[in-house]
């Protein structure tokens, strides 16, 4: 009980005491929730057979060893008996859990409840906080149990808890523990008179469809009897018509193809027992922005919120005043592994992998609708957690997330390969076709500047392609991602398809890039981290990678531009979302003749900007995302001054609580300076002058960077604009506009700004693999 290892031995025959010399041994790790049954299915049965085959071969080859059994510490535990399986309550929760699973299913650990022997099955340790429930007196237990929505919670003498899913009574009847108090709701396989009638009706329907089968028996299989998918529709429809409107899904027929199984399924539906467990969410609630925001704060793994494996948490901070919003689970390596395992299971064996693409699309449409319905709450959380200005968060952070899911939902059933004529291997013929297939489990690691939107950009394409995912939000901004997880359950995503693990890049992020079961990693963040991730992905299992990294995007403003617009858009290019914007214009090149006027007007405009609480509807400029970032920005400005750039405006922290930074303008920035080379990721406008008419010169300077994410040009001359857009080395060129992104337009960089596109049809290819099938006939 509680062993970390389990094993099997094949030994030479002896006189019946099982003490013969050992021939061969096998062992396996015991997972924290393994039961005897689970071990049997996973290890004992498959490995036992292999071991026996090997043993026989060893004997046949004359190579079989005889290792004497050690007598030291040896015990003999016979077949476990029911009377010995009674639970002793004076032990820790883990001890109880081990006892119960050690007897699951045979003979079953038991206790006395209301004078009756009740046997417990399906134990798991409860890592999250104890959900609400109705107390249940268990004889001998230190504390009464709790019947909750998900099962019976029991407590050890250490105050910790475990959850038991199923209970069996003396008469052999087994029920979900959650239904202990629901009188009359029995879940025995026995059918009531009413249900027998339904069963007869359904038998007639089956007979009508399977006209070639003389008698429908319990063992009659729908498909083996010749039914096709059209018959499935007919079956579902006839049952709806004749069984009081009972609505089955086509999937139900595929899951229960034998008549008796099908009847069980129908009866369970009729009794309402197939309902998915209701999601238990522990929220941190806050009254803010004239609403109650309810924020999940735990890891979201396999459809459930739970604390980190080692119980660790960290504080997430509100940058507006530096206060702690709440404690958030800090995912450990074990949590990453669990999440990946859940995603793998969901991909390989879950409903997600079997579902039609069009159904996948419908789930995504529904999720988009739910995001939209909850946009105020999501925008409020974004404002609290990342300092995003609320009005902007509504439109961009949340609004574009909704659009992204809607856009990719439409792609789900349009992912297709092609047929390709190839040279024939005469006299035979050949045909090649390609299929676009999902990759499997994908990891997504996203930054803190647009927490939900970055999640949406990557996840939507990933899910549309049919993958499952494990996503790590930025450590400093986990809350909208966890709220998203909750909504994904409401939308009906099967468990394990979406897993969200808040935590650090060093632990969870690193583990994701190294994990052998992950086939693709999508990352948005800084260039140095991107390089490290790519390296880990390469070394571990050659994961496919897409990297959307830093930028130092040039914005060239020619003297023939529309100056009003250039000033307005130029400011947006720098100050949008507090400058925390990967495509922000990192350098402005302004043509000499309009340089001074441009600077004057920018400064005038900055003075009008309202700095303040991001939840205030009139605020233009909120706090920087977190303290360390603000400090980095202040150092950046210091470096600029030290190197001799002219600080025209700002450059300081705003004197108020929280992490506010003044919008800042530097001029006379020369190409060799730190400011000209490095990304600030903050509200700092870096202006360099260029000689009138020197297009080649300014292009050469603009391209003299290792980054290549975005770029922009303002001019009224279409020829000049097209020429410049052709010469600029960047993933995106904006002409007479800036920051104009759209869900249908691909987005991503070149050079050290990374590779792989988000958004648009191209993003799908980042999450698909092409299989080429060639056949001869």
């Amino acid at each position: 009980m509680g062993d970390k290892k389990a094993g099997l031995s094949v030994f030479w025959a002896d006189d019946g005491l099982d003490t013969g010399p050992i021939l061969l041994q096998r062992s396996c790790e015991v997972e924290p929730s393994d039961t005897v049954d689970a071990l049997y299915n996973r290890f004992l049965f498959p490995e036992g057979i292999k071991a026996m085959v090997e043993a026989v071969q060893l004997i046949a080859d004359g190579k079989a060893p005889r290792v004497p059994q050690s007598e030291e510490g040896a015990t003999y535990e016979g077949i476990q008996k029911k009377e010995n399986a009674k639970i002793s309550w004076d032990q820790s929760a883990e001890g109880l859990h081990n006892w119960i699973r050690g007897h699951d299913k045979v003979p079953g650990a038991w206790a006395e409840i209301n004078g009756q022997v009740v046997t417990f099955y399906g134990s798991s340790l409860l890592h999250s906080s104890v959900p609400p429930g109705q107390p249940l007196e268990v004889k001998g237990a230190t504390k009464p149990g709790l019947i909750t929505k998900n099962g019976l919670v029991l407590f050890g003498n250490d105050g910790k808890a475990l959850m038991v899913r199923n209970l069996q009574f003396e008469d052999g009847k087994m029920i979900p523990a959650s239904q202990y108090f629901s009188a009359g709701e029995t879940s025995v396989v026995e059918l009531t008179a009413e249900e027998l009638k339904v069963s007869e009706t359904i038998k007639v329907i089956w007979a009508g469809i399977l006209s070639n089968v003389p008698v429908i028996e319990d063992s009659t299989d729908f498909f083996k009897s010749g039914a096709s998918s059209m018959d499935v529709v007919r079956l579902v429809e006839e049952i709806r018509q004749k069984c009081g409107g009972l609505q089955l899904q086509n999937e139900d027929v595929y899951m229960a193809t034998k008549f008796e199984d099908f009847i069980q399924k129908v009866v369970r539906k009729l009794r309402g027992e197939d309902q998915e467990e209701e999601l238990v969410v522990d929220y941190v609630s806050k009254e803010v922005n004239e609403m109650t925001v309810k924020m999940p704060y735990q890891c979201f793994i396999n459809g459930q919120f739970s604390d980190a494996d080692d119980g660790k948490t960290y504080d997430t901070i509100n940058p507006t005043d530096g206060s702690t919003i709440c404690k958030v689970s800090y995912a450990s390596l074990a949590d990453v592994d669990k999440a990946v395992a859940a995603a793998k299971e969901a991909f390989e064996n879950g409903e997600w992998g079997r579902m039609n693409a069009r159904e996948r699309g419908r789930l995504m449409y529904r999720l988009a609708d739910l995001l939209e319905e909850n946009q105020e709450e999501l925008a409020t959380i974004e404002a609290l957690d990342s300092g995003a200005v609320y009005t902007l968060a509504l439109k961009t952070h949340i609004g574009m997330s909704v659009q992204t899911f809607r856009y990719f939902a439409g792609w789900c059933d349009k992912i297709q390969g092609s047929t390709i004529p190839i040279n024939q291997a005469r006299p035979n013929r050949n045909l090649t076709f390609t299929k676009k297939e999902p990759l499997g489990v994908c990891a997504i690691i996203i930054p803190w500047n647009y927490p939900l939107m970055m999640l949406a950009w990557k996840s939507a394409a990933c899910l549309a392609a049919g993958n499952t995912l494990v996503l790590k939000p930025a450590q400093v901004t986990p809350l909208t991602a966890l709220k998203f997880a909750e909504l994904s359950v409401q939308a009906g995503f099967p468990k394990g398809v979406i897993n969200i693990i808040p935590g650090s890049g060093g632990v969870a992020g690193q583990r994701l890039s190294e994990h052998p079961d992950i086939r693709k990693l999508g990352f948005t963040g800084s260039t140095p981290i991107g390089k490290q991730i790519m390296k880990s992905c390469a070394v571990s299992n050659l994961k496919k990678v897409s990297l959307e990294l830093g930028g130092k995007s040039p914005l060239i403003i020619f003297n023939d531009c529309e100056l009003d617009k250039a000033v307005r858009m130029g400011m947006g290019a720098v100050f949008f979302n507090k400058g925390e914007n990967c495509i922000a214009a990192g350098r402005l090149f302004v043509e000499e003749s309009i340089h001074d006027e441009f600077v004057t007007r920018v400064v005038e405009e900055i003075k009008k900007m309202k700095i303040g609480d991001p939840l205030d509807r009139s605020t233009d400029h909120g706090p920087q995302n977190h303290q360390a970032h603000l400090e980095k920005l202040l150092q950046y400005c210091e470096a600029g001054v030290k190197e001799g750039a002219t600080l025209v405006y700002g450059g300081r922290q705003v004197q108020r609580p929280g992490f506010f930074m003044e919008p800042t303008v530097f001029t006379n920035v020369e190409d060799h300076m730190y400011l000209a080379k490095e990304e600030s990721f903050g509200p700092i406008m870096v202006i360099s002058k260029f000689q009138n008419g020197d297009i080649e010169g300014v292009l050469q300077r603009a391209n003299n960077t290792e980054y290549g994410l975005a770029s922009g040009v303002f001019t009224r001359d279409i020829n000049k604009a097209m020429y410049v857009s052709e010469k600029l080395e960047a993933g995106t060129v904006f002409i007479n506009t800036y920051n104009k992104t759209d869900v249908a337009a691909p987005f991503g960089g070149v050079k050290q700004s990374g590779f792989g596109k988000d958004l648009g049809e191209e993003a799908l290819n980042e999450y698909l693999k092409t299989k080429t099938v060639t056949l001869e006939y």
Binding site: F223, M230, Y365, D413
Partner: protein, 525 residues
């Protein structure tokens, strides 16, 4: 799981019963509401084929009404084309949702006016809303091309809507055709004026109301009722940009001629006399089932039906006996009843025409193995309906009328063959070319138009032309653009010439194909 819908205990189809339904509201739709036509050219009656009862009398629209409808659609087009793809997507999704929600009611109306069993009608409604959802998803991602030219110059293409398109429907799938024609048109930003067949004027109005409820601008989808004269007015109207028609070959030919005067692009989805080839190595139960489906769904009134059933000689007797046995078991009767599998034909004259084909076949030497007679159900209220027993003909020759002409009724002609080469030549000896089907287990068979067909090794059926899957194009799409295999581009300016042939495989039931490929219901005009 997708969320379960809570259904009323009594579906709408149960509330509506045969012999009770009448339409008293106007059957034209313009400006977002039902209207009586501004002028007319005679009246028509719509029947309930199950009883022979008149359910609606309506005026055929005249020139004034057609002009109003076009004007109205043009105004709506101006608003609609300016909406972003994502906005159009949302409206179409909403319409799809409403159709799904009202499925039972729409199916019942369809059954009452068309005569097909309500069970089949519901499948039609499913493929209708699926079609809307599919094109909704495309609306946001229509893209043109950018072509690089020397010296930094470039060209680019945009996919722009045509304007006011006319859809002319057939009577066998009234609602579904209205959806299949309007969904791609609307998704791309066009407006549509739809003229249903005068035999089935009712259900298109439900679609019009649903579009309005879903939020399309008033006038974007108008319904104009009438026959050939009204159709002519629509085709020749100078502000109509395109005509899409489903129906018979003679009418299609006339429509093309009329459209030619205005050089309007047309899409024609016409008749067929499709071959269904059964090789002796086929999986017999599957082949029998396929042959029944390919001939008797919607009373055989399906354009892609596989009505020329070529059977290899060594299995001819066994196959024929099984087909006859199962054909005789098809339950004919009140189409609103759940267990009815064959309802009445569309109307009296059509029934007469189909019976005449059977009579002529007999005269020309074919043998009637079963059916082919008028049928009067026991239920007294069905006495005036247009029923006949499904018919299997054997001893047919390629030159018989029943083998050469489209019957469009429940009449299967069985022909025998010896060799693969022989059957291919005979199968292709027709002026039609809509669909074709093959049942075999062997890979190396010639596809009936000189393209070798690939077939899985077991239990395979190359289904009847693959109708009913709205992702696949029915008919003859005329476009060649990478990745464009949908109707939608037919509604667009770029319309290059090339045939596309569609091969559809149903894999073995035992194999993994079970989940990846679904045999579609044979449900489409």
């Amino acid at each position: 799981m997708l969320s379960r819908t809570v259904w009323a205990l009594c579906p709408a189809s149960a509330i509506m019963s045969t012999g009770t339904f009448v339409v008293s509201q106007p059957l034209n739709y313009r400006g977002g509401a039902r209207v009586n036509p501004a002028d007319g050219s005679g009246t028509e009656k719509a029947f309930e084929p199950a009883t022979g009862r008149v359910i609606a009398t309506f005026t055929c629209s005249g020139e004034k009404e057609v002009n109003l409808a076009v004007e109205d659609a043009r105004a709506a087009f101006r608003t609609w084309k300016k909406k972003s793809g994502m906005e159009r997507c949302r409206v179409l999704l909403e319409a799809a949702r409403i159709i799904r929600e009202r499925k039972d009611e729409i199916a019942a109306v369809e059954t009452i006016n068309n005569g097909k069993s309500v069970f089949e009608a519901r499948l039609d409604i499913d493929t209708s809303w699926q079609c809307l959802e599919y094109y909704a998803g495309l609306a946001g991602s229509l893209a043109g091309e950018h072509i690089q030219l020397p010296g930094g110059s470039f060209g680019y293409t945009r996919r722009e809507p045509l304007g006011v398109c006319v859809g002319i429907g057939a009577w066998n799938y009234p609602f579904q055709i209205a959806c299949w024609k309007s969904a791609p048109a609307l998704a791309c930003g066009n407006a549509m004026i739809f003229k249903p067949s005068p035999f089935t004027p009712v259900s298109a109005l439900l679609l019009a109301e649903i579009y309005t409820q879903a939020g399309v601008p008033p006038g974007l989808f108008n319904v104009v009722q009438g026959g050939a004269a009204t159709g002519q007015l629509l085709c020749q109207h100078q502000d109509v940009a395109k005509v899409s028609f489903t129906g018979s070959v003679p009418t299609g030919s006339k429509i093309m001629e009329m459209s030619a005067k205005g050089i309007k692009p047309v899409t024609l989805e016409l008749g067929g006399k499709s071959p269904l080839i059964i090789f002796s190595d086929c999986d017999m139960p599957n082949a029998v089932k396929g042959a029944l489906m390919a001939n008797f769904l919607t009373q055989g009134e399906v354009c892609c039906n596989g009505t020329r059933v070529f059977v290899q000689k060594d299995i001819l007797d066994k196959f024929t006996a099984e087909v006859v046995r199962q054909t005789q078991k098809i339950k004919i009767g009140d189409p609103l009843l759940e267990d009815t599998r064959m309802g009445p034909l569309i109307n009296g004259p059509h029934l007469e025409r189909v019976l005449e084909f059977v009579r002529l076949a007999r005269e020309q030497g074919a043998k009637v193995l079963c059916g082919g007679d008028p049928y009067v159900p026991e239920d007294p209220k069905l006495k005036g309906g247009y029923y006949m027993t499904p018919c299997v003909l054997t001893d047919c020759r390629d030159d018989m009328t029943c083998v050469k002409e489209e019957i469009f009724g429940p009449v299967m002609s069985i022909l025998s063959f010896d060799t693969e080469a022989e059957v291919l030549e005979r199968a292709n000896n027709t002026s039609f070319g809509l669909a074709a089907g093959v049942f075999t287990r062997v890979w190396q068979r010639e596809w009936p138009s000189d393209h070798r067909v690939l077939l899985p090794t077991q239990d395979s059926v190359c289904g009847d032309g693959g109708c009913g899957v709205c992702v696949l194009t029915a008919g003859r799409p005329k476009e060649e653009h990478p990745g464009t295999q949908q109707h939608d581009f037919q509604m667009l300016n770029v319309d290059l010439g090339a045939f596309e042939k569609r091969l559809y495989f149903q894999l073995s039931q035992q194999g993994a194909g079970r989940q990846s490929l679904e045999l579609p219901p044979l449900s489409h005009a």
